[in-house]
Amino acid sequence: MLLETLADLSNPLIMGILLGGLYALIALGLSLVFGVMKLINVAHGDLVLFGSYFAYAAMTILGIDPILSLVIGMPLLCVMGFAIQRYLMSRAFGKSMEAPLLIAFGISLMLQNFQQIIWTPMSKGLTTSYALISFSAGGIYFPLAYMLDFIAALFVMLALRTFLEKSYLGKAISAATQDRGAAQLVGINTGRVYAFAFAIAMATAAIAGVFLGLTFPFTPQSGISFLIIAFGVVIIGGLGSMLGTFIGGIVLGVAQSLGGYFFGSTAQMLVVYIIVLVVLGIRPQGIFGR
């Protein structure tokens, strides 16, 4: 009896872990921007979706594979991120807490409407030949799209960690995160470092957008629901920690999947938010937060 239950559990458990990879992938950029600039980028979900729509355009108009389209999508979002930080956000920084938040909110609204005008409110998907493939082993199903999500998340997380730990710019980003004033005094151009951090976060958003589109259908309004999930991930994992964000994504994915298994699909997000609340109550800085 117990063994049967365990065998039954393995399927939702695996699905949860893989789905958590996608959540982590979406949250990594949000976590980086908050960690470095203390900015709650409420436009993050819409910027991720911009990545999805860009890949959709590349696929339907030019016939380019969504993953391959990242060769253009990533630099495009990088440039957008750099410009948003350098020419919009930086003017509002230090003036008040709400000014940058309002700018982010404005960007969110503009992107939503822009995407609605161009792509209609109808749901779209990056339907490729491989997006629906599924493997099964020992009675457990492994959808290829979910596996790709997980691999991409692991790759992006490790790449970000290596970048932050090894490169001059990455170290400068960490320094500006830990003490902005001291970073200025050692000769770091913090304004420029912030713009690069935002650009890098947007490169990860481009990747997240593609894998989101391979996994789920999306509409111009989807940004907000993925933003909320990303908030949950970051709260569980701890802001600014890349490994923490990755693990936070998996915790959230597993919670949702097991919640659905035990309490039905209507209650699955409830389980997720109860866990978020518990973490906020016990360890507000997140599992890996400082």
């Binding site: 320094a175 001291a182 970073a183 050692v186």
Partner: protein, 239 residues
């Protein structure tokens, strides 16, 4: 040969919001001097250092370094020109290793070229940092953190160092070590302007001193002359 003036601060006013923190402050630091900036808490010493470093802008007056106006430059540009501030409270990057803290000191382009040479100098001055190089900065003792902050400042290849309250919160024996390092730094051709609350110590270590009160420079001169000033005797030595 007349002594070269490195830093020339002329008649600056600095505000924090609506509050005026500096009133018509002037100060000079010459090549290879050690100059002390003395005063009670809130007298404007740190504000003066932060104005020189470009963290706050003066509302009036000018700041020149090596004959060049610097009062409208960004902090990172001022560091590149050769002015390095070691801030109050040390402000090392707590979650980075000692090595990475030092590497970040050499962030500006000019300093990157001299990184290896400056590493050697820092490890000669503070051998303990070499021993601790892979530890996170937050795991160091207060004295070691102060040495790291000084080392990080030296990595930027400075011509002039601004040192803010180095001895704050340190044990007397550690303070002696820090001041010994200060003299060694000067021997390597680096000019020093330091802020200190301990008047006796400042007058022992410096060549010249400026005394600040309520945002103004109220006295300045050679330390020998200042030690004889009645006002100083009364106010600070209780004689």
């Amino acid at each position: 040969m007349p002594e070269k003036t490195w830093l020339k601060v002329s008649n600056i006013d600095t505000f924090y919001g609506g509050f005026q923190a500096l009133w018509n402050v002037s100060l000079e630091v010459k090549f290879e001097e050690i100059v002390a900036l003395i005063g009670a808490n809130g007298s404007g010493k740190s504000t003066l250092l932060n104005t020189i470093s470009g963290i706050v802008r003066p509302a009036k007056g000018s700041i020149e370094f090596d004959g060049k106006s610097i009062d409208n430059l960004e902090p990172f540009q001022i560091v590149t020109l050769g002015i390095s501030q070691v801030p109050q409270g040390r402000r090392v990057f707590p979650d980075l290793s000692v090595m990475n803290n030092l590497i970040l000191g050499s962030y500006n382009r000019k300093a990157r070229l001299k990184k290896e040479q400056n590493f050697r100098m820092v490890f000669e001055l503070f051998p303990i940092l070499k021993k601790r190089k892979d530890q996170l900065a937050k795991t160091l003792s207060g004295g070691e953190q102060q040495m790291l902050a000084l080392g990080r400042g030296l990595m930027s290849n400075p011509k002039l160092m601004l040192l803010d309250e180095m001895s704050l919160g340190l044990a007397p024996i550690v303070i002696n070590n820090v001041y010994k390092a200060l003299r060694e730094i000067r021997e390597r051709g680096i000019t020093i302007l330091f802020v200190e609350q301990n008047v006796r110590r400042s007058l022992e270590e410096a060549d010249r001193a400026y005394i600040m009160e309520a945002g103004r420079v109220v006295l300045s001169g050679n330390v020998r002359d200042l030690q004889e000033e009645d006002e100083i005797k009364k106010a600070y030595f209780g004689i």
